[in-house]
Amino acid sequence: MNKKQTNDYTLALIKGLGHSLWAVLRHAFVKRETVSYPDIKRSLPLRWRGRIVLTRDPDGEERCVACYLCSAVCPVDCIHLQAHQNNDGRRYPETFSIDFSRCIFCGFCEEACPTLAIQLTPDFEMCERHHESLVYEKNQLLIDGQGKHPDYNFYRHAGVAIPGKAIGEAKGDTSPVDRDNNLP
């Protein structure tokens, strides 16, 4: 009984070894999966977590409303911003900087962002000669497109008024109550 078991085991071992050797031999002749970077660059999936950008809404305005949630959630504290209130009611970051020498590309900021402004892109080539040049300011972060989430405009859902959208004109709002009148 015991002896038969040992024999089966040895047999399986040899069989497996044979398979592995065969696979190695076979792969010596198939098409290569590795490429010689940087001569050849692979296209990465959209959800790759690389360089962080700030996007714009479909109207071309900044999506970031400076809510500070990204800087709050950031585990390495690499995001710093200062909010500014526009006279027209929109809020945007006056300054926004990300220290990419500290960033661990965890993507928490993207998850926390309520306006889909901050997005991680598949770009990871960010070598710099000096540490300071890895601190990206707002003009380096802000792009002209909507990134990977097209068609979302936070201010079309929010209750505040902005130019071109008065109170009561947001998606799913009724027109404002007339406070000087008690009629229904």
Partner: protein, 769 residues
């Protein structure tokens, strides 16, 4: 006193409490919105649902609102019961139906009561897919931003504004699920306590419009326990700073002083430290220089002047700075005082002396419990929080008697308000004293308001006599103290001083030294004047004399954090830290020493006054003792109070009542002469007048005259008059106002300064046709 059972915990309660109060006292959190310790229960929000197990086991448990349910011994309550949780969840879901999708751009986010309660009780997702009700917003002025969509109808705002602060320009409109909280029309909220709406609103309907301009989330703010520097009440505050700038100030509860609220001057006046013209670099002979060079220049000037030196501290500087300046002057053999106005100095010292003799002033909590008060002057301008405490006393039925020469908001709550011109105040007070001593209220109809006041004062058990020092003279202060003694032992005396540390400054300043110093500067006996946080050149009554006298100086050395007239004229200017940028001690109107901690530091090197004086001493070859030991020498066993504690009454050697004669010689009055009275408003204070947000609200500059005396003089409302004082003249429009005394013109502080007259001085009036 009994006990109840909440979720198995035995909780003691006080009679008259409800379930919510007992639970909160025991640190058991029952979710709630509309209940507030200062405003009581209302039952509007329906969130504090708890389950009560009846004593009769045959009956089913019932759900009740914890804030409305009276307590009885042995009551069994469950917060965690499934039924109660369900009710709370449904309430939150219902409140959130119309709540806008605003959290990322809402200033309340991070400290939002609704956010907390939604996370604590509510459903995680919104099920409602219908359309939301919306409201348009109002412009409520430069201090408060209105975003009505976020309202959950808890009525805290109107309950605070109308019932507690006794304001009348914010209310509830409409009905059903469309109740609107706002003003009848757009416009700034008029109540001087309106800023508390920011804290009392559980959501983001009312937010701080000043903080909004330079917004930061609450978790990013650096905070430390602090004391408000804007008046002598010494409210406890919690300033918040970020990135080397001060962003906002909030209330920090003190059990005896400000418990839940602070005034708008305290909340918004802090922006003086962010003023664009704030001096941040030392300046010597007209050019910016380094701290070292400025000290060297100052030391060489002082050495060359030899013994001819004066030091002017300040009632708005902390105790340490004043004591160090005094110590330096003692070493150098110079004169020290903390007051640039000799009149104010004598009055303040007389007031502190009379407080020491009659027992200390009552705290705000004690003021709220009085039955009657005699108020002299405009408390709303000099101690807004005492005004709020008196409004609470008024709500409980206290009779307020008011003697004033210029309009004051407290007049609308006074049982008897009497306008008295500044120069008649003394005779009026003496007459009151006579009437009280005579014990029998005379039924003389010609003296109706006086006899009414006497009757209300004599009929009360807990009495308060309070005066604003800035509009009192040194002769009136002792009469008020005599009145307090005559009215019996339960009578409390208090004074609203000018300056957060006026009490402490009075303890350090020898009586009469301000006049001695001014005369010495005029005579050229003082060649160097060190001014720490004071503005003698901008003073209304003595400004012209100081300006002339300062031409005799070889050097004017100024230490300040704001660009006053004196700082502009300084030969050597040391910019010093504003109160949030350093630690220190203020002594409030009760004599309570309270410490404040440094909140943050600016990128520039900004030492405190005490530090500059210590360094200056070293450059002069004198090593001064550290501030705590200097203070320990002056006040025996004095320990610097720890910031964040309730503070302790200072034990100081008793001051003698100053016997200096009246400072300004009584001017001959003739028919064309009018008396000037200082009219003030809650934002009128040396520091707060550099806060841009408050400055937008400055009342229009007018000359206020009582209607009948205006008619007698043939002056019409809105006509232009020319006022002439000792150092200048000014043309102003006339506003007729019942709150001004007969023969008196009430004008603002800056007009007084320009005319070179003080409160009670005479003015010439000329009609401009």
């Amino acid at each position: 006193m009994g006990t109840i059972l909440i979720d198995g915990h035995i909780i003691p309660f006080k009679p008259g409490d409800n379930i919510l109060q007992a639970a909160l006292e025991a640190n058991l959190e029952i979710p709630h919105f509309c209940y507030h310790a200062a405003l009581g229960s209302l039952g509007a929000c329906r969130l504090c649902a708890v389950e009560i197990t009846p004593k009769d086991s045959s009956k089913a448990p019932r759900i009740a609102m914890a804030c409305l349910e009276p307590l009885e011994d042995g009551l069994e309550v469950s917060i965690s019961a499934i039924a109660a949780q369900q009710v709370r969840q449904h309430v939150i879901e219902f409140l959130m139906i119309n709540h806008p999708h605003d959290c990322p751009i809402c200033d309340e986010g991070g400290e939002c009561h609704l956010q907390d309660m939604t996370v604590a009780c509510g459903p995680p997702y919104r099920r409602y897919r219908g359309r939301k009700r919306t409201f348009s917003n109002q412009n409520l002025g430069p201090l408060i931003h209105h975003e009505m969509n976020r309202c959950i109808t808890c009525y805290r705002c109107t309950r605070f504004y109308q019932d507690y602060a006794l304001g009348n320009d914010l209310g509830a409109m409409r009905l059903r699920n469309e109740v609107y909280f706002g003003r009848f029309q757009d416009g700034p909220l008029e109540n001087p306590f309106a800023g508390n709406l920011v804290e009392i609103c559980p959501t983001g309907v009312f937010t701080d419009a000043i903080f909004r301009q330079h917004f930061a989330r609450v978790w990013d703010l650096k905070t430390a326990p602090s004391i408000c520097p804007h008046c002598s009440v010494g409210c406890n505050t919690l300033p918040g700073a970020r990135d080397g700038t001060l962003r906002r100030v909030r209330n920090r509860a003190h059990p005896e002083l400000n418990r839940w609220f602070i005034c708008d001057r305290g909340r918004y006046g802090h922006q003086y430290s962010e003023h664009s013209a704030r001096p941040l670099a030392p300046r010597a002979s007209g050019a910016d220089t380094s701290y070292h060079d400025a000290l060297t220049a100052a030391a060489s000037q002082i050495k060359s002047a030899q013994d001819c030196i004066g030091g002017l501290g300040s009632a708005r500087e902390d105790l340490e700075g004043n004591a160090m300046l005094q110590a330096l002057l003692n070493t150098l053999g110079g004169i020290y005082t903390a007051f640039s106005d000799p009149e104010l100095e004598t009055a303040t010292i007389a007031a502190v002396s009379s407080l020491q003799n009659t027992g200390n002033a009552p705290s705000l909590a004690e003021i709220e419990l009085i039955d009657a008060a005699l108020i002299i002057g405009d408390l709303t301008a000099y101690a807004p929080m005492i005004d709020l405490a008196l409004r609470q006393a008024y709500r409980k039925g206290a009779k307020l008697a008011l003697l004033h020469s210029s309009p004051t908001p407290l007049a609308q709550f006074a049982t008897t308000a009497m306008t008295v011109s500044p120069q008649e105040m003394r005779t009026t007070l003496s007459r009151l004293y006579q009437l009280i001593n005579a014990q029998s209220a005379t039924e003389d109809m010609t003296e109706t308001p006086m006899t009414d006041i006497v009757a209300s004062l004599m009929g009360a058990r807990k009495l308060l006599l309070i005066g604003a020092i800035e509009t009192l003279t040194a002769q009136e202060v002792p009469i008020l103290a005599k009145l307090a003694t005559a009215l019996g032992s339960d009578t409390r005396l208090a004074y609203a001083f000018s300056g957060a540390n006026a009490y402490g400054a009075a303890l350090l300043s020898p009586a009469g030294s301000a006049m001695v110093m001014l005369e010495a500067v005029e005579a050229g006996q003082i060649r160097i004047l060190i001014v720490a946080g004071n503005d003698p050149l901008g003073d209304s009554r003595f400004g012209p004399r100081w300006r002339a006298a300062c031409r005799n100086l070889s050097a004017l050395i100024v230490l300040d954090c704001i660009l006053t007239a004196t700082a502009k004229a300084a030969d050597i200017l040391f910019p010093v830290a504003a109160w949030t940028e350093r630690g220190g001690t203020f002594i409030n109107y009760e004599g309570r020493a309270q410490g404040f901690a440094p909140v943050f530091h600016r990128p520039e090197y900004l030492p405190s006054v005490a530090e500059v004086i210590t360094d200056l001493g070293q450059y002069l070859g004198h090593s001064l003792q550290a501030a705590p030991s200097v203070l320990g020498d002056i006040f025996s066993d004095f320990e610097i109070p720890k910031p964040g504690t309730t503070g302790s009454l200072i034990i100081a050697p008793s001051l003698p009542m100053p016997t200096t004669p009246p400072v300004h010689s009584a001017q001959e009055s003739c028919s064309s002469m009018w008396q000037a009275a200082l009219t003030s408003w809650y934002g009128d204070e040396a520091l707060a007048s550099f806060a841009p947000g408050l400055m937008v609200l400055i009342p229009e500059t007018v000359a206020m005259i009582e209607p009948t005396s205006a008619i007698d003089a043939g002056i019409k409302n809105g006509s232009q008059i020319k006022l002439r004082g000792s150092s200048g003249s000014m043309v102003l429009p006339v506003q007729l106002n019942q709150g001004v005394a007969t023969g008196t013109i009430a004008i603002a502080r800056n007009v007084l300064a320009q005319l070179g007259v003080g409160h009670g001085d005479l003015l010439e009036l000329e009609q401009v046709l």
